[in-house]
Subunit: 419 residues, 2 copies
Amino acid sequence: MGVDNFKEIAKLAKQSSKKLATLANDIKNKALLNIAEELENNKQAIFEANKKDLGSAQSLLESGEISKSVYNRLKLDENKMRDMIQGIIDIYELENPIGKILMQRSLDTGLILTKISCPIGVLGIIFEARPDVITQISALAIKSSNAVILKGGKESAQTNKTIMDVIQKALDKTEGFPKNAITQVFTREDVSQMLEQDKFIDLIIPRGGNNLVKFVKENTKIPVLGHADGICHIFVDEFADYEKAKRIVVDAKTQYPSACNSVETLLVHRKFSYKDELYKSLEESGIELIFSPESWHIEYSDTKLAVKEVESVEDAIEHINEFSSGHTESIITEDRENAQKFMAAVDSAGVYHNVSTRFADGFRYGFGAEVGISTNKTHARGPVGLDGLTIYKYTLQGNGDIVKDYAEGNKQFKHKDLV
Amino acid sequence: MGVDNFKEIAKLAKQSSKKLATLANDIKNKALLNIAEELENNKQAIFEANKKDLGSAQSLLESGEISKSVYNRLKLDENKMRDMIQGIIDIYELENPIGKILMQRSLDTGLILTKISCPIGVLGIIFEARPDVITQISALAIKSSNAVILKGGKESAQTNKTIMDVIQKALDKTEGFPKNAITQVFTREDVSQMLEQDKFIDLIIPRGGNNLVKFVKENTKIPVLGHADGICHIFVDEFADYEKAKRIVVDAKTQYPSACNSVETLLVHRKFSYKDELYKSLEESGIELIFSPESWHIEYSDTKLAVKEVESVEDAIEHINEFSSGHTESIITEDRENAQKFMAAVDSAGVYHNVSTRFADGFRYGFGAEVGISTNKTHARGPVGLDGLTIYKYTLQGNGDIVKDYAEGNKQFKHKDLV
């Protein structure tokens, strides 16, 4: 899909989004079931396409152009396919997020204001080598009545193309489902074009490394939802339980070191009696501890952990509010007051007490699925599920009501909440 | 306040915002009462400063550099001052928007997720010649625990400065209220600097003309809340009641023609029996009707009204979704089905039935006050009150919980909603 076409794609997506906005929930759900069914029916074709991508990736892996973890994320097998299909069924089972009455208020007799959830419009998704993102995002977009334009990584181009063909086939056979709701683009130029189409695209979600997210944020006027860094902190307070501290830090650092919700900096209260034992046991768990200020800025995505000793909970809060990327932080303490102070004052999407930072995830939060994790301070924060793909509008129902009557004092508002 | 200082101001505002985030509601309310009291005590000084601004504005008015309506908005009198003070009391009386539990869910036994409202951080407000904006925005910022940097129009510089001095005096005597929560800047260079400080400023709200809002949106990476155009539509359906149609269109066009929620384009169903009578009566009300396609793009802010005849409600919806700025649109009809179709399919912040578009306003909606009206598709839409100045964070309370237990199947999530 070349540059010339992108604007047309975006325009068609916008037109489609208007139809999606009023689409019956039954049709959306039928589309999801059809996609699940077609994926099951066509999984061999998808595996074959994936083998081609893996073949090309093999040489990139050998030459060091991609990492082993990128290679692994690219690979689709029966298990992943089952999860992909189950993920669509899970979204099918979620409540319709559109048309919910969020507030209803009588402004005066017979003048009823209603705040009602509606889709955002057109989403632009840029993701790297994880073909399972396509089905997940497509399903979330369908359920939330948004149109979506997807741009995947070139490493998974064959797989992505085949999956998208299957999705299109499923949508084509869903009666009443609008055309052009889900489109895929492939080139680098498409990304540049996507970032420019603020007339047609309402929200960009980059899913990938730090560099991708930063590039997107710096090159578009369209709102961007996501997170560049994941510099998460754990603060082991003076009043921490040693066993809990050890168990939580090991989990947060080693359970999946390259995840964005893994801990990167450990803050330890100088008066914590077991601090030396803690350091020792972390090292025994294979964690490399780094005691230098340069490390406070770094997302290692590895089994390395920056360590800093602090004087107080206030000191820890200040460090976090200065160095954190606003993702997720946890305090380990048996002191309820310190925990409350920490959770109130730390300005991050997730603030935890006696829990591993690794819980920051849409599935673990019970959202069914997530489009990503946001460190924004507006719209949506933390793991973003269906709710983050909606906005609202206000309807006002009257019977010839005019403002002049109120401006001139002939009538007075009698605001009364109904819902 | 020069360019060199701006970054420092923004940094101090950010520090202050961290203190505001945990400030007791009592202190915020005391600050609001103190501001109301000090405004009352110092109103003569404010009126005198305002006279100086009006003196300078007089010559700008005569030379045509500012309009009569700008001059009028600049003017403060006893009535406006009473409204300003009452506006602060109204915000004082509103519920604390911070610390609200928006959702609470047990992820597993003893593992409790809570979604809790919190402030956004630092707001940057750019406004034109309306000094009453300062007290309104300052009060909203205080109540919502946000720090704010205000940049007013140069026409009202003396008035703005005096009002801000009064506010600072009131805050200084409010025990426990943090320093640097509310700051004012004055120069054009301050605006450029403000738009660059994405590290310290979390949300920009431009309140003013189309050009200001467009300039801001095009020159910052910080999220912007507002609306550039206000091209609102009224659709008079085939099944409209003639008297209601006339009454509503006259109100929406003439009650305050320069307001952003005034109607700019009238769509009339070709089969509406009274269309000629309607046109005639609108002209008799002093409205100039313009029947040309060029007018569909124009926000007249005057008693001019673009008119287009359409074939159907679908045709009207299509026109609106193409030409509207997404602010507010109204259908006039006695046909419930057409009304519902219109309200579901029109993609604007406000979609009305048998009501004047002039109702699109935070006070009329019962929000107590508004920071502005947003045509964004993310974060906040329509009139934005205290809620639009908040975001949320997730707290997670556990007792040594780690993800490994769930990843390895030793434990299963039992998502159960508590609130």
